[in-house]
Symmetry: C5
Subunit: 308 residues, 5 copies
Amino acid sequence: MTDRPTPSAPSGRPASSHGPSTGSPSTGGPPPGVRPQASLPEPSVIPEQGWHVGHFFYRFRRDQLDAPLSAEVCQQFCAALAPSDELMPERLASYWTSGHEADFGVIVMDPHPGKVNAIHQALLAPGIGRWIEPAWSFTSVSEVSEYVPSVESYRERLIRQGDAPDSPELAAKVSAYERRLPMMNRNRLQPDIPDWPAACFYPMNKSRVPGANWFTEPFSLRNQMMAEHAQSGMAFAGKVSQLISVGVGLDDWEWMVTLWGRNPEYLKEIVYKMRFDEASAKYGEFGPFYVGYRADGREILDHCRMTG
Amino acid sequence: MTDRPTPSAPSGRPASSHGPSTGSPSTGGPPPGVRPQASLPEPSVIPEQGWHVGHFFYRFRRDQLDAPLSAEVCQQFCAALAPSDELMPERLASYWTSGHEADFGVIVMDPHPGKVNAIHQALLAPGIGRWIEPAWSFTSVSEVSEYVPSVESYRERLIRQGDAPDSPELAAKVSAYERRLPMMNRNRLQPDIPDWPAACFYPMNKSRVPGANWFTEPFSLRNQMMAEHAQSGMAFAGKVSQLISVGVGLDDWEWMVTLWGRNPEYLKEIVYKMRFDEASAKYGEFGPFYVGYRADGREILDHCRMTG
Amino acid sequence: MTDRPTPSAPSGRPASSHGPSTGSPSTGGPPPGVRPQASLPEPSVIPEQGWHVGHFFYRFRRDQLDAPLSAEVCQQFCAALAPSDELMPERLASYWTSGHEADFGVIVMDPHPGKVNAIHQALLAPGIGRWIEPAWSFTSVSEVSEYVPSVESYRERLIRQGDAPDSPELAAKVSAYERRLPMMNRNRLQPDIPDWPAACFYPMNKSRVPGANWFTEPFSLRNQMMAEHAQSGMAFAGKVSQLISVGVGLDDWEWMVTLWGRNPEYLKEIVYKMRFDEASAKYGEFGPFYVGYRADGREILDHCRMTG
Amino acid sequence: MTDRPTPSAPSGRPASSHGPSTGSPSTGGPPPGVRPQASLPEPSVIPEQGWHVGHFFYRFRRDQLDAPLSAEVCQQFCAALAPSDELMPERLASYWTSGHEADFGVIVMDPHPGKVNAIHQALLAPGIGRWIEPAWSFTSVSEVSEYVPSVESYRERLIRQGDAPDSPELAAKVSAYERRLPMMNRNRLQPDIPDWPAACFYPMNKSRVPGANWFTEPFSLRNQMMAEHAQSGMAFAGKVSQLISVGVGLDDWEWMVTLWGRNPEYLKEIVYKMRFDEASAKYGEFGPFYVGYRADGREILDHCRMTG
Amino acid sequence: MTDRPTPSAPSGRPASSHGPSTGSPSTGGPPPGVRPQASLPEPSVIPEQGWHVGHFFYRFRRDQLDAPLSAEVCQQFCAALAPSDELMPERLASYWTSGHEADFGVIVMDPHPGKVNAIHQALLAPGIGRWIEPAWSFTSVSEVSEYVPSVESYRERLIRQGDAPDSPELAAKVSAYERRLPMMNRNRLQPDIPDWPAACFYPMNKSRVPGANWFTEPFSLRNQMMAEHAQSGMAFAGKVSQLISVGVGLDDWEWMVTLWGRNPEYLKEIVYKMRFDEASAKYGEFGPFYVGYRADGREILDHCRMTG
């Protein structure tokens, strides 16, 4: 996959400047008084690590809808959610959603931001777009969090928790972690979507109010709280799978949480349980929640009565 | 009732994956580094305990309405609120509502989330849907709260309140509680809707601000505050009946409160009285309130002048 | 006036249950584990004390308006604000309002909530309703506040303020208060609307933030602050008349304040002066303010250029 | 100018009661238990002191606009901003505004609130009104603030600042202030609009949060902070001119600030500088800001591309 | 470039007063009691220092869009983003944007506010304007912040950081800074737009809550925090370039941040890293974030499926 995969996606570099007064390579430089680093990668929209992640939620627009959508428009809708190979992003899953805020939602992941947003634009393209109203979205990227322990810090944590420094048990645990880590990180950067029926989606911040300011706490304390928080989540292994992607600098919240559940009640249970963890209880600020049930385009149209 | 009761409801499992890159059972697993539990139930959208609960509020859309709704559209509206047996959820009640935010509201409960949301979708289906605008909704599930005392903790509480440990009075009270508990819990999970004319609906959170953080208080203190809170409510026995359903992980507030009143003044009185309980006064955060009066589809249409 | 005064108003009791699964008298009972009180009034929508109060604010919808409203539609508008005797609620007054939020507003009071809301629905009925957009509303009930002193507590307050317990002056004051109290309370429950040109309307809460939590203060302190607050208001006798109605459990704010002014500057002055009272300065949270000038339907249409 | 200057403006008194149940002079009286003051002015909408002030901001509505506005509609727009002598309020100025919130704004002042709001209604009247969408407005009245020093308190302040009580310098300063004060107060109540190209408009509150509650501070401290604040403003004499009008009881914010600038950079500078004054830094809460550039109707239409 | 460069832009001075009651030069004077400064520049809309900066974000309006935009309308769109030399502002760059809030955005800079806003108005002009809905905007001006060290304060800082006062190293650093400063300040006032593919945009305030009030901190402390903050940014030289423009007095937030990135991941990284700086962690309040990818008009239309 290249930097410019599809005709409708933007190039990794501006194709043209807009008149002589806009920036040019010779003038668009570093901030004043700062020398650029020795060697920098070529400008690109593709992260060195991680994928662009888009969450999109929609309502059908009904104020001018007198009849079910035509077969042609239904077909266009389904095609937007199941694009051809060339336009297919690395990950795509769709859900009908509960309540009035949205009728359905989509999660999309790809190295190229234009390929992610192209799914959104396909749902709003002339034809089907007239009948669909965007309700909410979130733009983020996948990453390996700074709180994921390195092999060495994992070893130190086990020792703090009681393992003897020279014990074979410790060595075995560390060795296992070292073997698992690459796969675990790949799963953080390029997660697979589990084949479960329910999911919930919500953004969050860490608070910065006087008396509960996450960003003025030392790393060691934040790291410890995040480890406890992770421990809470492990009780739901096999019941809930998660993706935490980063919206800092890209969208209105700092993180986006995606939880896939074997049963919707596990979604309720894990969020309730984790809310008592100090990292959430004291520092978590939560945005809108959406709960969805896995469905392809045709199932969404049927559930929403858009078909004749 | 099965996991997939109606054609338009989603299956308990994703019917298909969207292309080769989406998740599959072999890849969609637990969070990294975590072993799933020995035996897990089949993926399903139906909770093991409790029902899905939907609260939906609507306005009639009048900006293109030149005449009363046609008889056919009125009929479609009434049918959406009184579906056929096959589509009828376990509970359904409708209300006209006071004020400009909504003209009417519906509460729906069922084990299957698709059957709950299908009532919402039927009200927005082509035909009637053009004339109805969703105003607010809340998605939750019924549950037995962690603050409902077990038989043993009920006994301990009575002793703390002065009952002698070996007294026959204590034994009688505990025995009565033990007999009532299953029915009480059934009423929490599958509540009946009382035949009273008024109801109010509002969501709430427990606050997490510095100085009033519910989620950092110990269970014992939270439990005691909830017991006092329950005591306040008991003064309204016969006047007000309640349902507390859980939105944690599913919608924007943590809980949804439904109060049914023998008279609307009792709704005002109970909410005012309970606001002085520490659990509410210090920790309660309240969302929008809707007050409604029980009415079937035809009565709603008549009250809202939608009929000729 | 009966419990069911108009055809389009809802009955005091649900006219029908919606299928076999909805609530019935035998199942819709008290909260679990609670015995109802010995004798309870019949279910009704009419409060034992106080009236339902509706405040409604509207904008004319102009995005499709090419010409003045037709004479027929103007007539419908005026009729909605001056209904026939049978539909006329106990109190009704209308105002044109200043600014972009609303073009006009209505205050309505009646024992029956359906009769109050019927005024709102008449303004939105097919014909005129297409040209009117609800902007804001508030649902409340009139009441005698818990801070209104009883005869005995009034006597005690005077003694605390320096009256000699056995003085004839004290006896005379108490006796006068005793004679005035029933009329004063009637005016709180069923207030007359003064014949003054200006009015302002706004909702309010008492704050519950850490450091300024009204609901955790003892009654004695709240009572004292409310007495001081009332004292502030008395300086405006003859200039401003007020109605405080209760929205707790019914709408998004706890109280609704209606101030009628002999001159709009008195509205500004009283609100500014009272904001320094501790009850407001420390604990008052205020919602949107609307200022209106008394006008009947024709005057509203003329002021808003809706007539040809 | 009389109390009822224009046909479309409301009378100072309600022209009619709405049926027998609405208020009448004999029933609409003072608050319960309070004797009205000896002599009160006639009910009126015209303040004894100060003018009604309206700030109105608008967007052109473009979702149905296929072509420039017709010459007739353009003429109606210009006439609404330049009414005939009879309808002309005491002050009126219009501005095109920067950004997406509004395309243009108007400030209007007059003793009669109906004459102020009539400008707003003329812009929304059938014809032009279809193409204009109100974006924001604020309703206030001009006044002489309680923090404007009297001659005596001005003298005391100078002495506190070092002037000798019996010095001829002090006498001269006090005498000059005494001569200036009536004109200064007239300028506060009936301000002229300077002939400068830029202006900014924003509402504000004084905060009442725990730890920064303006309304619980003693007058002496508030007065001192306001004097320092005024001092900051004086550095901008000749660059910025201001109007502070009062919205308390009339609109959602307590004060409305209008700053006229000889250059828009002075608007930025004065607001930035004053934000460090304790009165603003600690107690100021600010609403939306609009910046505008003086323009008549035709210039607004041209700038906004509404003309052919 | 003059004060009145284009026909549709407003004049630097009001072209006419609106009737005899509006302000005139003889009456519109300084605030009461204040003598204007000796010599003041002519009234103008052009700042003595800095440029007007406009950020504009838009959605395509699709609720009436049945087919791709016509070639004529597409041409009008492209022309609005690439105006003729006469109308071309000093800087202009456009981006397609990720997510549902906006489809595309534009940043514009020019000494004349009318020339900046004319780009916005051209995008909303009859023809294309019907299909475009403004989503957000921000109005600001470029400036040299008070925290940019003068040569002398730069020297003092270096000494505090350990340089010997008389060392040739210090002299060399100071001399280099002195040479760079004019260019650096020009880049702050008239920044070039780098030729990189990604950018993010967000407004911010400095908090004034009790316990974290930026505006009550002494300059020395604020200056020190800003210096550390600048240090954080320098680590991204060559990866990220920034513009901080000022909205104080002009729009709803105090500052507008524009970050141009060589790769979108650097945008995430720099914002995340800087959030731990005390200036942000404790005092920063952030508004909506938009992320965009450089694209000209045709590329935006293609990405958004507006072309046939």
